[in-house]
């Protein structure tokens, strides 16, 4: 009994190690995008997120029953990130005078937008599946994705080549863009089943060629 359990544990550890060796790079990239830590440097928050997701995957390894462990790890990561982002949704106040820490590619997006963008575009998860994993309606996921894509295209990535493109509205660097765009304050409530109004802010036409 004890020997069988030890053998099972060794087998599980071996399989898990092979899985991590193959999948960790891609998952770590996704985690770094989620936590918006700069590229090319150690990303402690992303590593913590990934370690936790992998540990939970290890804990259910024997009960996966044919499910893809990569899918499972990604799901754990998304769930934990959504949970922790909800807890830490208020931006930490910066001390006046200190420059904001350098951020990654998705720094200016809200955590939810990051999550949807990474799951939909980086990982290529279907819209309905993303919605089910995040517990959101599919229309909401669609809208979030459109909005995130609009943000990404209207602003040059930090440190990217090319001068900053003048955008229609002046964007303060510290401003979090979270408000619902393109709806006048006195507009009547539009149910989500109505014909899809473009939820993303209209991307300025003149950035089309300037974006890298």
């Amino acid at each position: 009994m004890r020997e069988r359990r030890a053998a099972q544990e060794r087998r599980r550890a071996r399989e898990f190690e092979a899985f991590v060796a193959g999948a960790a790079g891609r998952l770590l990239r996704a985690a770094t995008l989620l936590t918006a830590e700069p590229e090319g440097q150690p990303a402690p928050a992303a590593e913590r997120l990934l370690t936790l997701a992998l540990a939970r995957t290890y804990a259910v390894w024997d009960r996966l029953r044919g499910e893809d462990p990569y899918d499972r790890a990604r799901q754990e990561m998304a769930a934990h990130f959504a949970h922790s982002a909800w807890r830490a949704r208020l931006p930490r106040p910066l001390r006046p005078g200190t420059p904001p820490p350098p951020g990654g590619l998705l720094e200016r997006l809200s955590p939810q937008e990051r999550l949807v963008l990474v799951l939909r575009l980086y990982e290529g998860v279907a819209e309905e599946q993303t919605a089910a994993q995040l517990g959101l309606p599919a229309e909401r996921v669609h809208a979030l994705c459109l909005r995130a894509v609009g943000h990404m295209r209207s602003k040059p990535p930090p440190g990217g080549a090319g001068p900053p493109v003048p955008v229609g509205e002046a964007v303060h660097p510290a401003r979090k863009v979270r408000d619902v765009p393109a709806s006048p304050p006195d507009s009547p409530y539009v149910p989500e089943s109505s014909p899809p109004a473009p939820p993303a802010p209209p991307a300025p036409r003149h950035t089309e060629t300037a974006a890298p």
Binding site: V20, A21, A24, L28, T51, L54, A55, Y58, V149, R153
Partner: protein, 83 residues
Amino acid sequence: MSLPDRKEAEVRRMLDGPHPPVPPDLARRATADGRRLLSHRRLARRALWLLTLAALAVLLIWAAVDQPWLPPPTHTTPPLEGW
């Protein structure tokens, strides 16, 4: 290719990039954390089973001693005498 598709492809290209170097002890740490998680779960399950069994044992002992299905002795009705 429609316009939204083109925009999405553009952002997808921005997201795609080289994978960052994975710390060499990541698998070991994850395995250790996962083992700890498993043992915690096993411990919690065992404690729950023990608690359930203890509650069942207490219920059985109480029922055997008290025998609550017997009608209660009639303390309240005065004895009928003098007929």
